[in-house]
């Protein structure tokens, strides 16, 4: 993409999450717990052209460098995402997301009869299995509709 096509300006310091599956940008922010209240400058691009994905979403967070463990959970909804750490307008680090062993407190269990959906002081916990995630409490497996169960 050439300079004059850029829809949002470059950031000086922070994190650019690129190659996010189309439609998942707001879920990415939800998982990262970023809702604007922390005062960070956040730019979101949706359905922008991409050579690799056809269309993609892109998220830029100014003033915050996301750690690997923070972004790994994104692999569940944006497996193709790349994470660029930017300092002084330059990309100093570029990483792919990798699948974590488990995720805590991010997803709600789709099983209405799971103890985590009762009125208990408990954080949900899911193991990441072959092609989805699995509730540590009731063993329910969630595969295709993970983004629908983001609860942060």
């Amino acid at each position: 993409m050439s300079e004059h096509e850029l829809r949002v300006s470059k950031i000086r310091d922070g994190t650019v999450i690129d190659h996010v599956e189309s439609g998942q940008a707001l879920n990415v922010l939800a998982i990262l717990g970023i809702d604007g209240s922390e005062g960070l400058a956040v730019s979101v691009g949706m359905n922008v052209p991409s050579d690799r994905l056809g269309r993609k979403d892109i998220v830029k967070v100014e003033g915050r460098e996301l750690s690997q463990s923070e972004v790994d959970v994104l692999s569940l909804i944006a497996p193709e995402a790349t994470i660029n750490i930017v300092r002084e307008f330059e990309v100093v680090e570029k990483n792919r997301v990798t699948r974590p062993d488990g995720v805590s407190g991010v997803l709600s269990c789709p099983n209405r009869n799971c103890i985590t959906n009762d009125d208990e002081p408990v954080e949900t916990r899911f193991d990441v299995v072959a092609d989805g995630v699995r509730c540590d409490y009731c063993s329910t497996i969630l595969r295709d509709d993970i983004a629908d169960h983001i609860d942060v």
């Binding site: 099983n111 009869n113 799971c114 103890i115 985590t116 959906n117 009762d118 009125d119 208990e120 002081p121 408990v122 299995v129 699995r134 509730c135 540590d136 409490y137 009731c138 063993s139 329910t140 497996i141």
Partner: protein
């Protein structure tokens, strides 16, 4: 068995199972040797759902070991009806008892309870999840008749919501067993149970018709199909009728077939089966005593060992 709790049958190895069943056999052979073994200890019975036999069976097993039991009573008359969380309830009860038996309508309740307390927790049924102590007595019953290897086992009825089925299927993967699952399409095993069976590489086949496999079975484990699982009563009667057996049905079975049921039964096994050599469900229920004695003995022993106390029997 080096476990602190018994929450799910998937946690059990072959060695774990055999150790408890060996001890259950020893208990059955010489109950006097185990009488009073845990005098001074207290077992708490926390049943958030109605139960007759499981509650009485644990109560009896504990008392035969010399334990006292305390019972939370019915949910309606307890602090649960005032809105107390399970987490708080078990934390409080932990202070009153040396071990805790829990039944709860929500899946995962026993896992949560075990995270909240330091005393051993036994899952006596969590919703449509697991019922592993039932599985141990089921395995004891099968072992007494056939051993636990080189077997063909059929499990029939409500495989979707049947927690005894989920636990038994998982435990049988530790042995050389072909498993056949017989149910209406709408009550097939849930995805999570099939996932676990697949992961272990177990020999598993699913059927909608008992006739297709009856002649091959060493064990037929029958479970109740509940009316509330169906949108209308006619559909229930039509479907449930196909999964009922009587003495005539069993004419096509092997002479050595063992018929089991976790009880209570309604009409899925006709009373005329009781008179055949196949029926084993009442012995199965009675086996709850030595098996639960062996289980409690093991868990209390492990808890003492974990505290660094000398276990000298």
């Amino acid at each position: 068995m080096r476990q602190d709790h018994l929450i799910t049958a998937t946690q059990l190895s072959r060695d774990d199972i055999e150790a408890v069943l060996d001890r259950a056999r020893a208990v059955a052979d010489d109950p006097a040797a185990y009488a009073g073994r845990h005098a001074g200890s207290v077992l708490a019975l926390c049943f958030f759902e109605p139960s007759t036999r499981t509650r009485m069976s644990f109560d009896s097993a504990a008392k035969r070991l010399g334990m006292e039991t305390i019972d939370m009573g019915d949910v309606d008359s307890s602090s649960v009806s005032k809105g107390e969380s399970l987490s708080d309830t078990v934390r409080v009860v932990e202070g009153y008892a040396d071990a805790l038996v829990l039944r709860h309508p929500s899946e995962g309740a026993a896992t949560l309870a075990a995270e909240r307390v330091d005393v051993p927790v036994v899952n006596a049924g969590d919703g449509a999840g697991q019922h592993p102590s039932q599985t141990l007595l089921d395995l004891h019953t099968i072992r007494e008749d056939h051993g636990l290897d080189d077997l063909t086992v059929g499990i029939m009825g409500d495989l979707k919501y049947g927690r005894t089925v989920h636990s038994l299927a998982a435990a049988l993967t530790n042995f050389d067993v072909n498993q056949h699952f017989i149910s209406p399409e709408s009550l097939r095993l849930p995805r999570s149970v099939r996932f676990d069976l697949h992961e272990t590489g177990a020999q598993v086949r699913e059927h909608t018709d008992l006739e297709a496999v009856l002649g091959d079975l060493d064990v037929l484990y029958v479970t109740r199909i509940q009316k509330e699982r169906f949108p209308d009563e006619n559909e229930y009667h039509r479907v449930a009728g196909e999964y009922q057996i009587d003495a005539d049905t069993l004419a096509a079975a092997s002479d050595d077939l063992t018929v089991m049921h976790p009880l209570p039964r309604v009409d899925e096994i006709a009373p005329d089966v009781d008179e055949t050599d196949h029926a084993r469900y009442f012995e199965q229920a009675h086996n709850g005593i030595p098996v639960r004695m062996a289980l409690l003995d093991t868990l209390l022993e492990n808890a003492e060992a974990a505290e660094g106390l000398e276990v000298d029997r």
